[in-house]
Symmetry: C2
Subunit: 212 residues, 2 copies
DNA sequence: ATTTTCATGATTGTATCCAATTATGGAAAA
DNA sequence: TTTTCCATAATTGGATACAATCATGAAAAT
């Protein structure tokens, strides 16, 4: 089952901006580029379809998902709801959060400017906070939403201001967790999500204007 | 892209109980049964994997997802969070809920005892309530969770008491919606979800005991 | 000039073939 | 008897061949 790895590669390409939203994803060309045959590529396309990064149409092929404001609203409402549950759970369990991993992810995130890598490191950070809750299915759900959101955030090449702001917010959340400040961590998390939502919306509109 | 239809057929077979949780899903046998070749069948397996109804393992094949208590907890926490958002949205929009469709689904649900059809009708009911919010992505997320839950609910052949109780709860929710009683509808919805959770958990334990 | 038709090519979907991996069962060794 | 090993069968994963559908563009009709 190599389709999974193919999906990762293709996801990185999309998040990196090699294929803009709406761009067609031709099977022969893509499979050649990724060094596999069409069979595992199609599996990868199906995976990314279910993740919400790709849209497929009968006999008309696949293309990168196009995102609108309504979708962003839904995505961030869902993220907020689920991540709040996850963070609360992490606090209520007595297992310590993985501070070392969280800090490593944040440090690494500051040094890269590859959108795909950045997205992965951001996820690593969130994982470090939520993982200890042991709620695998909840985590899966959050990751799926994160991946959809990642596309939106990567679109406008994610205005640099927003990236550094996001990093600061992450640090603040981590700090609150270290101090065992549950209430503070939750507020900071929600502010962080709201800011991310706002930023994605802005870069979406900007992108729309840019293409007249 | 016939894989989608194949996925529907297979999903029905699983929900109908033709393949118990943990049962292997052999590609050649299944493709023969469903009247397609292995290629679209494998796509269907991938779709159901992403839906959480099937688990795949490298070179070891696919099998029906096995559900444990922790997964049920996650599933129902997520459902509660998302369905509350959806119902609130439906109320805040001025577009009227689709009462006719909701009632039709409930009536039809009372007349069938096919788990797959019942699951679909239950979803139709929830859709009638949430659809008017127009939040497609939110609805997709809820549907995904519903499908995973459906497997859990169908396991113990869903104790008959629970089925009629669920029907009553649905009617109560519908009634509250008709009266424009937002607060009441929300409480009833949450009670309904909690009862479904409890029921699924019970039938899970019972099933475990039955197989020593 | 505009629209319609239709032949051709491009692209996707399905079936099948081959390769890689895993499961099975019996023989040999302990 | 029990365990280990290996040959064989069963099964999955990937590549390719074929069929079905869609997109194109030029010729014909209006």
């Amino acid at each position: 089952m190599n389709g999974g790895r193919t999906a990762e590669k293709l996801r990185d390409l999309i998040l990196r901006g090699d294929y803009q939203p709406g761009a067609p994803l031709r099977q022969t060309a893509l499979s050649a580029r990724l060094g596999v045959s069409r069979t595992p590529l199609r599996q990868a396309l199906q995976i990314l379809d279910d993740e919400g990064l790709v849209q497929q149409s009968d006999f008309r092929g696949a293309s990168v998902m196009t995102i609108d404001a309504a979708m962003l609203d839904d995505l961030f409402d869902m993220r907020q709801a689920l991540e709040n549950i996850a963070l609360k759970s992490a606090f209520s369990k007595q297992t310590k959060l993985d501070f070392a991993k969280a800090e490593m992810a944040l440090d690494a995130a500051e040094k890269t400017n590859d959108p795909a890598a950045l997205s992965q490191l951001n996820w690593d950070f969130h994982t470090a906070l939520y993982q200890p809750s042991g709620r695998k299915m909840l985590l899966d759900g959050i990751q799926r939403l994160n991946r959809s959101s990642a596309l939106a955030e990567a679109i406008g090449h994610a205005i640099n201001d927003r990236i550094t702001a996001s990093a600061n917010e992450h640090f603040a959340i981590l700090q609150a967790c270290r101090n065992d400040d549950r209430r503070g961590a939750l507020t900071l998390l929600n502010e962080h999500l709201k800011a991310a939502h706002k930023g994605a919306l802005a870069s979406l509109l900007e992108d729309k204007n840019a293409s007249h």
